[in-house]
Symmetry: C2
Subunit: 225 residues, 2 copies
């Protein structure tokens, strides 16, 4: 990172979003590689300015659509980072967001601004991270881990239909510990967060598994796991 003079005179509101997904039994976050100073070649969260005629949430959606090719994605606001010197280009206040999507729905694409965009395991993010984005990622993962035990937030990481083993694997990846299969299934049945589709998998060299989907449409809170 090089020292540069400040480019912006006024305080600017920006957003940065941690797009989190699960691939290969690992939590992953999307990072872009910056082309320009002051953080040339550093990795950063996708983000950008909030326009003067758009809400903060709309700005997040707009940037996600540009960089990850997805317009319907679960979003939640994390925290607003407002240290004076967090951005060497000037006074930029950034609102951090968490976005969750099953990996199949992401279409990461580089643009003129960025030489590259790809997923990194959250346990192995590159050391050259721009700004305070490492901290934002940490807040994002902490939030996900904390909400997973009292909400149905995992639904945003799952495909429409899934087996109970798939679901258990997602919980295990997020929380980093294993569950007993029988106890896990019992609990899922009790809280009736999911519904049996009466369809089954086929093709595996093993007994077919029942396919489930999440019940209802919204979010809810309850104690489980």
């Amino acid at each position: 990172m090089k020292n540069t003079t400040k480019q912006f005179k006024h305080t600017i509101v920006a957003i940065d979003v941690a797009i989190v997904t699960i691939e290969g039994n690992e939590l992953q976050v999307a990072l872009i590689q910056l082309k320009n100073e002051p953080f040339k070649n550093y990795w950063a969260l996708p983000g950008g300015m909030v326009g003067s005629e758009e809400s903060i949430k709309d700005a997040v959606s707009r940037h996600i659509k540009m960089k990850a090719g997805i317009s319907k994605i679960h979003l939640e606001q994390l925290y607003t980072f407002g240290e004076v010197d967090r951005d060497p280009r000037g006074r930029i206040v950034s609102v951090g967001y968490l976005a969750l999507s099953p990996v199949e729905k992401l279409k990461l694409k580089a643009s003129e601004e960025y030489s590259n965009i790809k997923l990194f395991k959250v346990n192995a993010i590159p050391s050259k991270i721009a700004y305070d984005h490492k901290e934002i990622i940490k807040v994002a993962i902490t939030r996900l881990r904390s909400k997973v035990v009292y909400t149905n937030i995992v639904r945003y990481l799952m495909p429409d239909e899934f087996t109970l083993t798939d679901l258990q694997r997602i919980y295990e990846v997020i929380l980093g510990r294993e569950f007993d299969k029988r106890n896990f299934r019992k609990k899922m049945m009790v809280i009736k967060m999911i519904t049996d589709t009466k369809r089954k998998t086929s093709g595996g060299a093993h007994r077919p598994a029942s396919l489930y989907r999440f019940s209802g449409k919204g979010d809810y809170k309850i104690d489980f796991i």
Copy 2:
């Protein structure tokens, strides 16, 4: 509220803070009465602009010191409100904060800007509330209620020394339900959040009560209540 033309050209970052305390067995929040349009005589949360050379948190502390005469107060960021039309004067993004203090430490004082500042019961806030401040208050109270059951956040609402009955009352006021005295005391002992000072109250026409203080200095999380 009257219609006015926009006063500010650029997006501005402001803060609004819900200063919450307990008085008379009720949760209370400090509100100021505005002197000027577009919300003349409406009640609002204390708040104001974030200076270009101060962090967001410093701006919150500064405004609290001005309006509530207290410089050491527990603060936590709640949410950033970024709808385009939330302020008729222009594009103002506001970072909402929760501040907690025992009532004895607050010294609410009116200023030139505000004709009045006082505490309102959160169950009886006036109907003439400016901006989206009713929503901010709601987020503040929800956050407090939710954190009280898994953190030691009540410490910021208590005086330095207190009896177990005092402490139980605070939990009951915040959560709006009653606890069994024996179970409550048992739990407080188990989690060892508080320490016996070996001192006792005196003066009441009843048996003296042991005085306690919170252990350690920081925050922690654990399941209780």
